[in-house]
Symmetry: C2
Subunit: 388 residues, 2 copies
């Protein structure tokens, strides 16, 4: 029998280019904020999970979980673990801590995600991101992630009549959403015309269809739900958790617009929470590219297959729409420090459910966090809820 | 209340230089052997943890847990996670699966460790291993791991009278142990003279005081103890598990011969198993350097502080000694494919407790696995037992 688990503290650095701050500084800043937010004595923390993807590849630094744990002042003897699953690294960190608290192994855990990308060249970043593919198959073809999602976009357009303008509207919406978000990398509006006329990256995707290189870290403190009120008047409970692999690699898909890791992780989370997509009031979806938000909004059940682009066009995913998607600005406009993103999404949804967000959705009860990695390789979905 | 957990299947590639086999091939080979050894339907596996340290740094490949899981034929929807903690990556993978089965979250989990090192240059390997230090402090001094352990060795010699010959005797013993081990990289004996006359690496450590660059993978299948006999007549139970950070970085130690991550992880494992060091019949200890085996044999309580070198000299750690240490050959002679080592140690101890090892210790009941990483950064200790 699983115990209910709550998030009692959150922290985040800005998701921007932070050339003057090291990886360690970013991670420690976010963790200290979460500890302060929870008002917990850090010596009570029994386990630490740190999601990260690129620290080895981009800054020649690994074994960061013990390093950050020690410098934070956690006890000697605390277990500390880095989890890696490409862009899902942060969501996986959350999942591990959640399961172990739910199972009664620990009472207090710190979860974080962190990434430092801006010190590396763009070429190095692109090649390092491509390390989330299989170098023996996909990698050997020269495919990179913009190419992978461009292929999905073309097929989605072919099968369902999704338009380039609908893709662009995702970017316009998310840039509008990030305007009031102090953690966002981009805080200026963009227009349909500007997105459509931006530099081609991988046809049909333009520059503004793609998320930016970003530095940042986010963190959360978890504890059993029945102890949460000792620390906060607004605990946010974890109602469901899913973690799934898909058919890793584009060539293994019967239909490349079907993203099975998202479908399966979503199914697990919905079933555990005993909820349906229509119960969700706000979602942070892994919009690494505009087409990803559209396809994943379908795979998570918010819209029928093929209707995600039309839903954007109709405004259904805006902050005041049927299902507000990425009111934070998402990866496209808030930024995508890869290993930090899953933890950052949790930060944004917790703020929403506390009714404290800078771009607040009206009175949300249930929030969904979707964190996806690789070429449909792995995904986590978490459903959070406020107490009524 | 934790459930008892058993290891019902094991697999391992040789720990050698395997230039013609990719990382993925090594990992899949070890996992398939473990699945075959357990006689389990792979579709029953509910979770997969893969320990790895260097795949990003050395072969520009990450997100390997979903990749290996999918190619192994595990179900779409299975959670798959890479754990990283330097040389402790494999031990951490085991720990995650153990906890989640003990807690009742899963019934069947696959654990593996894998590393592919030989394709990179020695310089690249040395710099990548140094990524397990803190680049902002230790790293900036130019310290590498041979240097770190050389400093420990000098201090141990100064404080306790440990001799260079005692260090060398660890290497002689472990090379003798690896002779009959078909998984070992080095299968030739060495002499005290040969070790002492080998090339200086970081004074007082010579080449034969240091473990070699190695490729390899190992794996294990875990399930609840009360289901183990469905799969094997010789289940090996996990009696205790510890996972701890230490004071990361050499300059933070009051006394550099005290390795706190080992002390704390050992304490956790002994307490859970309700055992003392004198109850252990065989130990695989993380002998990345000869001094590490000596210092860690003290920190694990097999000998009083400062007596580890003398114990080796007296033959107490030989296969027929008071506490046989590294009958597999250890990292020094069996090899050290970094992320695979923790899983490889489990393989060796399970074979011992099944009474099936090529260098069999007489009738062992309890075996200890010690997997340590970074500059006293993180450590796991697991105590395994055969059923009487």
């Amino acid at each position: 029998m699983l115990r209910d688990v709550s998030i009692i503290g959150i922290g985040s650095t800005p998701f921007t280019v932070q050339k003057d701050r090291s990886f360690k500084e970013l991670a420690i800043d976010a963790c200290n904020q979460a500890i302060l937010d929870a008002g917990i004595d850090r010596k009570m923390i029994q386990s630490f999970y740190l999601g990260n993807y690129l620290s080895g590849l981009l800054i020649n630094q690994e074994t960061i979980a013990p390093l950050v744990a020690y410098e934070l002042g956690l006890n000697i003897g605390t277990p500390a673990t880095k989890t890696e699953g490409a862009c899902t690294s942060g969501g996986i960190a959350l999942r591990q801590a959640y399961l172990l608290i739910a199972a009664g192994i620990y009472d207090f855990a710190l979860v974080a995600g962190a990434e430092k990308m801006s010190t590396a060249s763009r070429e190095k970043v692109t090649m390092s991101l491509a390390a989330a593919m299989d170098p023996e198959t996909e990698g050997a073809t020269g495919l990179t992630f913009p190419g992978f999602f461009a292929i999905i976009a073309r097929r989605h357009m072919h099968d369902y009549g999704t338009t380039i303008e609908q893709l662009a509207q995702v970017s316009v919406k998310n840039h509008l959403n990030s305007l009031p978000n102090p953690r966002a990398r981009f805080r200026h509006p963009t227009s349909l015309e500007e997105v459509l006329n931006s530099r081609p990256i991988a046809d049909p995707l333009k520059l503004f269809d793609c998320c930016p290189i970003t530095d940042g870290a986010a963190a959360a403190i978890l504890c059993p739900a029945d102890r949460a009120l000792e620390f906060t008047s607004k605990p946010i409970d974890i109602a469901g958790s899913g973690h799934a692999i898909g058919p890793v690699g584009i060539f293994r898909h019967q239909n490349i617009t079907e993203l099975w890791s998202t479908v399966m992780a979503g199914k697990q989370a919905y079933e555990q929470a005993k909820l349906k997509p229509e119960d969700i009031d706000i979602a942070e979806i892994h919009d690494c590219f505009t087409i990803a938000e559209i396809a994943d909004s379908e795979e998570l059940g918010f819209f029928p297959k093929g209707k995600g682009g039309f839903a954007v066009e109709e405004g259904l995913t805006q902050v005041d729409g049927k299902i507000p998607i990425n009111p934070s600005g998402g990866l496209l406009a808030k930024g995508h420090p890869v290993g930090a993103t899953g933890a950052g999404q949790v930060y944004e949804v917790v703020k929403q459910l506390r009714d404290e967000h800078e771009n607040q959705v009206k009175d949300p009860e249930f929030g969904l966090v979707h964190n996806s990695g690789g070429s449909d390789s792995v995904c986590t979905v978490h459903i959070l809820k406020r107490r009524s």
